[in-house]
C-alpha cells in the first residue's frame, strides 16, 4: 500500500516527507513500547509501517534499527523537532493521524494492510 493511500485512509498528513515516498508498505505493527517493537525483527525485508504514540527520538532509532521506512504517529500528537530532524537525516517518513491507535489500525487492516509476521526464535 502506497504512502499516499495510507494517508488517505487514515486522514493522515506527512510531517516528514524526506524518504522512500514510493515505498509499497505490506505490513504494519503498532506499539508504544519500543522493546515490543524490537520483537518484530524476524520479519522479511517487506516494508513495514510502525504505528505508535511515542514521539521522541527513540522511535526513529527503533525504525532505523529495524529498517522500517515509515512511522505513523497517532492521536494527533505534536512531534518534537529533534525527532523530525533525526528522521530527515535517516530518510524515515513520519506521518501523523488524529485518529487513536485502535481506529488507525482498524482502518488500515480493513483496507488490506497485514499485521507484521513475527515469531519467537
Amino acid at each position: 500500500m502506497k504512502i499516499d493511500k495510507i494517508c488517505e485512509i487514515t486522514a493522515a498528513e506527512i510531517i516528514q516527507p524526506i524518504g522512500r515516498k514510493d515505498v509499497d508498505i505490506r505490513y504494519a505493527f503498532a506499539a508504544d513500547l519500543m522493546s515490543d517493537t524490537l520483537f518484530i525483527i524476524m520479519r522479511d525485508d517487506e516494508p513495514l509501517l510502525l504505528i505508535t504514540g511515542v514521539t521522541n527520538t527513540s522511535v526513529v532509532r527503533t525504525a532505523i534499527i529495524l529498517d522500517i521506512p515509515a512511522i505513523m504517529i497517532v492521536r494527533g500528537k505534536q512531534v518534537p523537532e529533534q525527532t523530525i530532524e533525526l528522521a530527515k537525516e535517516n530518510e524515515i517518513l513520519v506521518l501523523r493521524s488524529s485518529n487513536i491507535m485502535f481506529v488507525t489500525c482498524g482502518l488500515l487492516y480493513q483496507a488490506g494492510l497485514e499485521g507484521s509476521p513475527w515469531k519467537i526464535r
Binding site: D32, I41, S58, I64, I65, D67
Partner: protein
Amino acid sequence: MENTLSTTTDKVFLYDVIGAQFDTIGSKALAVKKMLNDYFPKNDYLRRLGVCVFEAEANLAIHTIHGGSIEVMIFSDRVRITAKDDGPGMKDMKKALTPGFSTAPESARQLGFGGGVGLNNIKRFADYFYIESSKKGTTLIFEVWNDDDPTTH
C-alpha cells in the same frame, strides 16, 4: 567451530553509554549497526545485532548510576558484545530475566522503554548469552553468529 570465547581479533570498538540519560537511547546501537555494515552487509543479521545492542544500551542508560561501556569485537563469523557497568547490579537475576519484570522508572517507560523484555530479547536473538551481576556492577556478554558461515552452529 568450537563454541569457545576466542579473543583473537584486532577489530575491537568501544562505545560509552551515559547513565540516567534516556533521550539518547539507541544512538550507540545505531552507530554500531552502521559500523558493522562494512563487515556484515546483511539486513537480517544487522537487525538481530542492532536489536541486541539497543537493549543492552537501554539497560545501561536506565539501570546504572554512571552508565557503562559497550565493547564490540568483530570476528570473521560472529560479533561479540560486552556491556559493562559499575553498579548497582541486579538484586534478583531470576526476576530480571522474567519477561515483564522491570525496575525501570516511570520516566523511562514514558519514552517506550523499561517494559521488562530487554534481556529476554537479547537471549532470544543471541547465539551465546552470559550475564553476571553484583553490587559492584553487571557484565553482559553475548554473541550473534553470522548464519551465512557454514562453520557456525
